[in-house]
């Protein structure tokens, strides 16, 4: 990892840490949503079944939101332009962002996971560390996705509109409510191209069936490919304009 990547990551972390209200919201928002989700499903077995998919969905949702808005601000306030004139590479900029914001995406993931386990008392199988590693991968995909899609928004209002466009369809098609195999053929086919589908599939296998990371290699591979793809596409959006 280059020192330029670390410099960008360090600055991103410093920026969030110095904004106390944002830090408070980063901590409170997942707690509120996990509470609402938990208490809206009074049936314990039903909650145990739904919790992994809810967790994967919230990781994608929060990761996408925080990164999308942060990177958009970088574009609109002119600081991105300033960095593009400097000696650091486009990939360093995107990777630095990924690294910095991943820390907060992970913080949110851990808050939600441990809140669900210890406060809502959901049952899970499988190794804790393997579950957390997989959640981290989902977080990486979310951060890469947010960075890429921020290139298509001109302001925060437009970025927020990407949630119903990019995130909500994935919620319906990922297997959160209905198994993807029970979806109409066309929708099932579309679901194969959505990262959340593999996030939900993988986390269910880990938490409900007690499988290991080795058993869900396909989901890990596809999610890693999504992350790499979004990362490369995000850096391409920073190219010289003609």
């Amino acid at each position: 990892m280059s020192s330029s990547t670390l410099n960008v990551a360090r600055r991103v972390i410093l920026q969030v840490v110095r904004d106390r209200r944002t830090i408070a919201l980063i901590i409170v928002a997942p707690l509120v949503i996990a509470t609402v989700a938990g208490f809206s499903i009074p049936d314990k077995m039903m909650l145990d079944n739904a919790a992994p998919a809810i967790l994967a969905t919230l990781i994608i949702f929060f990761g996408f939101l925080i990164t999308g808005i942060s990177f958009l601000r970088e574009r609109t306030q002119g600081t991105l332009e300033r960095m593009l004139v400097s000696p650091i590479s486009r990939m360093d900029i995107v990777a630095g962002y990924l690294l910095g914001l991943l820390l907060f995406a992970l913080l949110q993931t851990l808050i939600m996971f441990f809140y669900m386990v210890y406060v809502l008392s959901i049952n899970y199988q499988g190794d804790l560390w393997q579950i957390l590693v997989f959640q981290m991968l989902i977080g990486i995909v979310a951060v890469c996705m947010g960075t890429f899609f921020s290139a298509f928004a001109r302001n925060e209002f437009q970025m927020i509109q990407f949630i119903p466009l990019i995130i909500v369809p994935q919620i319906f098609l990922s297997g959160l409510f209905i198994q993807t195999s029970q979806l109409p053929y066309v929708l099932e086919w579309i679901s194969k191209f959505l990262p959340l589908t593999y996030g939900v599939e993988g986390i269910k296998a880990l938490m409900q069936q007690g499988q290991s990371l080795l058993d869900i290699g396909k989901d890990i591979g596809i999610l890693a490919a999504f992350a790499a793809g979004f990362l490369v596409l995000a850096s391409l959006t920073l190219r010289q304009k003609s």
């Binding site: 020192s3 330029s4 410099n7 960008v8 600055r11 410093l14 920026q15 969030v16 110095r18 904004d19 306030q77 002119g78 600081t79 332009e81 300033r82 960095m83 593009l84 004139v85 400097s86 000696p87 650091i88 590479s89 010289q240 304009k241 003609s242």
Partner: protein
């Protein structure tokens, strides 16, 4: 290849069908302060963005220190955009330190010495721990200038650097710009005010993406044939000539 700090050769740039820079050619000598003067929409900012490599020319080329403006020579370039372009949550010194880091000032002690030095240059020592969000517009401009010069670049691009500054601060900025050129730095400054233009060693008057006249302020005033002519008169003289030429064509 050329010895000039900047060589612009038949440069062209379009936004859609609109020609923003139209077959522009100019050379800027090292160690001078060169003003780009023109009304809004004349192409000043686009020209600077082409010079620093943010935009790709539709035709012609730009050479900075004899090379195209790529990442390999970015350390030699300082860029102060029109917007303050700062991280509002970070303090004055954190912003400047960040730009020092990404411009390759790796030695922590030396970098902080330089950060403190530029903070003093822009007269913000008392405010060095203050978050940008709590500064006035003029103070933000000063931090923005500090971020552009922290790595001591030989070529410094300043896009409307004195906009929003009070007269005292404007004088302070120009004193510093003069010191920089005396020390051998090349400054390219865009402006639409004649106060700023009078401070530049050389000027280019821009209109509709073209250079309508180039020279020292004295040469441009003398070209009007009126000994009493101000820079404003000279500008209007060349603009009018250009309009007539355009109508004839």
């Amino acid at each position: 290849m050329t010895d000039a700090a900047i060589a612009v050769n038949n440069l062209a740039f379009k936004y859609g069908a609109l020609k923003v820079i139209d077959d522009m050619t100019m050379e800027i000598e090292s160690g001078t302060s060169y003003g780009l003067l023109g009304p809004n929409g004349a192409g000043k900012t686009t020209l600077i963005r082409l010079m620093v490599g943010l935009l790709k020319p539709a035709g012609g080329n730009v050479l900075c220190l004899g090379k195209p403006p790529t990442r390999s020579m970015a350390k030699n370039i300082g860029y102060m955009p029109q917007l303050p372009a700062l991280y509002s949550e970070l303090s004055v010194e954190q912003n400047i330190d960040f730009f020092g880091r990404i411009y390759g000032l790796k030695d922590s002690k030396k970098r902080w010495e330089r950060v403190n030095e530029v903070i003093k240059v822009v007269d913000l020592w008392e405010k060095r721990k203050t978050q940008i969000v709590n500064l006035s517009g003029g103070m933000k401009q000063r931090v923005s200038l500090a971020c552009a010069i922290v790595h001591q670049p030989s070529l410094i691009f300043l896009d409307e650097p004195t906009v929003g500054l009070d007269p005292e601060l404007r004088v302070h900025f120009w004193d510093y710009f003069t010191d920089l050129t005396k020390a051998g730095h090349t400054l390219i400054i865009s402006s639409h005010t004649f106060d700023d233009a009078a401070h530049c060693q050389r000027l280019a008057f821009l209109r509709l993406g073209r250079v309508v006249a180039q020279g020292t302020p004295a040469e441009l005033r003398a070209a009007t044939g009126n000994k009493e002519a101000s820079l404003e008169d000279a500008f209007l003289y060349f603009i009018k000539h250009d309009e007539v030429k355009e109508n004839v064509q």
